[in-house]
């Protein structure tokens, strides 16, 4: 396997995503600012202003129009990327659903942030979960390096002829978007060669005349939606192919699940995003003390990697599922997905919610979740870091 020797530079997750965009050289980028995504589009705009790419920028008047313009551009035959967060994604969601239905492979960089109200600009996954059932694919980065790698892979996954769906590339607001770390960028030419050319069937500006976004009655809507659902299912294999190709070419591998010290684990943490780093530190500490614990971080959230998760947790007795989003009145999203994936597997899953509105997940909270796994199960949802929950937080 080739392993390129790459110079590292210190970049935030947002800057890393913007560098990936510079190397992808999208044809069109509709943009609109919102914290904590703004540095993605601002950094990319600087690259355009400096002549590093000749992308057409559209400074739209809302995220709704950003996504609307993105669908128009993508179906016209132009590779299109946009970015958003929180309320912006909420405003966009109507059109994200339509983008999936019209099979517009738009790449959406997301700086994941809490939803109002109360208004809050900090990180959680509520915005991504709002678009969970849209048909858009979803991947989540743990750090700036992954934000770069996933962004570079995103067009290949979204534009694959078996997929043709939008893809959301999530990075936790502030924890990743604004945290500077060493990031190894690929050489521009290698990155461009990996991404390849944008080709879709039936582009508005290429080939014979075609109608997009037509009206479907009950005699056809179900079949058209089923095609889209099947494409999302097919994206599981395509994600695997693209990440394998990335590994073959560049030596970096980002499988759907990041399984950390799970091989002989008896207890494990399952979560999404930047908190994986904290959980891995706790795993190392407990492993050093002889405890058999591990951590699984989900990179590919939609389509959900059911079989991979079943395989990853096959020998694990108890798993604490940490959601950074809620489904008020029901169990939170990742827990529900994991429960379905592990149905009748014998794995004991417990649900926790942590980190809403940017509340930190300190190591003590991960310790608590792993410690409680050794105790008899309790009903309902546990809350990590919530004041008054009887955990390590103040009463």
């Amino acid at each position: 396997m080739a392993k390129l020797e790459l110079a590292q530079q210190v970049l935030t997750g947002a800057e890393a995503a913007a560098h990936a965009m510079r190397q992808i050289r999208p044809d069109v980028v509709p943009l609109y600012p919102i914290t904590p995504q703004t540095p993605i589009i601002q950094t990319f705009s600087r690259f355009v202003a400096d002549g590093e790419t000749d992308t057409v920028l559209l400074q739209v008047e809302s995220e709704h129009s950003a996504m609307s313009a993105a669908v128009g551009a993508a179906l016209a035959g132009a590779r299109t990327i946009t970015a958003t967060a929180s309320q912006g994604l909420a405003l966009m969601v109507e059109v994200v659903y339509i983008a999936a239905g019209l099979r517009a492979p738009v790449v959406i960089a997301v700086g994941n942030r809490a939803l109002s109200g109360p208004i809050n600009i900090h990180g959680d996954h509520s915005d991504g979960m709002l678009a969970r059932d849209s048909g858009a694919l979803q991947v989540y980065a743990q750090d700036a390096q992954e934000a770069y790698d996933l962004m570079l892979m995103a067009p290949r996954i979204a534009e694959h002829p078996r997929v043709l769906l939008p893809i959301m590339v999530g990075q936790d607001g502030f924890n990743v978007t604004h945290s500077a770390e060493p990031v190894a960028l690929l050489p521009d030419a290698e990155a461009a060669a990996f991404v390849g050319e944008y080709e879709i069937p039936y582009a508005l500006l290429q080939g014979p005349s075609s109608s997009h976004g037509v009206f479907a009655m009950p005699d056809s809507y179900f079949e058209i939606r089923h095609q889209m659902i099947s494409a999302a299912e097919a994206a599981r294999d395509v994600y695997r192919e693209v990440t394998e190709d990335y590994r073959r070419r560049f030596g970096r591998y980002l499988p759907a699940l990041d399984c950390y010290r799970t091989d002989d684990a008896e207890r494990a943490i399952l979560l999404i995003g930047s908190a994986a780093g904290t959980a891995k530190d706790v795993v190392d500490e407990l492993r050093a003390a002889g405890e058999k614990v591990g951590c699984v971080a989900v990179r590919l959230y939609r389509p959900f990697p059911h079989e991979e998760l079943r395989a990853a947790l096959a020998g694990v007795a108890r798993v604490a599922v940490l959601d950074r989003a809620a489904s008020p009145g029901a169990f939170p999203p990742l827990y529900s997905d994991a429960l379905a994936a592990l149905y009748r597997s014998g794995v004991d899953l417990r649900s926790y919610i942590y980190g809403l509105g940017g509340r930190d997940l300190p190591q003590g909270d991960v310790h608590r979740a792993l410690r409680e796994l050794a105790e008899p199960p309790r009903a309902g949802i546990g809350y990590l870091g919530l004041r008054g929950d009887g955990g390590d937080g103040e009463p």
Partner: protein, 162 residues
């Protein structure tokens, strides 16, 4: 440019918009679309807001449109049109499509223009896209059954009164 009278006489030459759709007999919008498209020389792309025109001309698996056509939602015809026009500029400057000029024409009703689509239209105009925006203003939401819009005249009869 041909006069309206001349355009009406040349209907068989106009291949941008065909009959066979399910718009109501006597509806004004088919001749408007046919006339607008017929009066634009060269290649064109049409963009529709949600409404009678879109619903009645594209019932899957049929289409009345002889030109490339796209509809995304109710309130965003101007934004979608801007995206298509931006794609044309991007692909032209990179030599990915021919240099033949293309005209972009958006069609929206008064609800999709005066009310729900006003913001997207404002943004598109401010950005200065090269596109034609046609508002067919029949002074009410006709597709949902004659409810008032921001373009309805004071005292206009609406479904609630008829």
């Amino acid at each position: 440019m041909a006069s309206l009278k001349q355009l009406a006489l040349r209907e068989e030459e106009q291949t941008g918009f065909f009959g066979g759709h399910s718009l109501c007999a006597g509806c004004g919008i088919p001749p408007i679309v046919r006339t607008v498209l017929g009066s634009i020389p060269g290649k064109k792309v049409a963009i529709s807001a949600t409404g009678c025109l879109e619903v009645a001309t594209t019932r899957y698996p049929f289409t009345a449109w002889g030109v490339p056509w796209i509809h995304v939602a109710f309130e965003n015809a101007a934004a979608v049109a801007g995206g298509v026009e931006a794609a044309y500029r991007a692909l032209s400057q990179r030599g990915k499509i021919g240099e033949e000029p293309v005209t972009f024409v958006a069609f929206a009703g008064d609800g999709g223009t005066y009310d729900i689509g006003l913001q997207a239209l404002s943004g598109a105009l401010e950005r200065g896209h090269r596109l034609i925006y046609v508002c067919y203003n029949n002074e009410a939401y006709m597709n949902t059954g004659i409810q008032r819009s921001g373009a309805s005249g004071a005292g206009s009869p609406s479904a609630a009164r008829t």
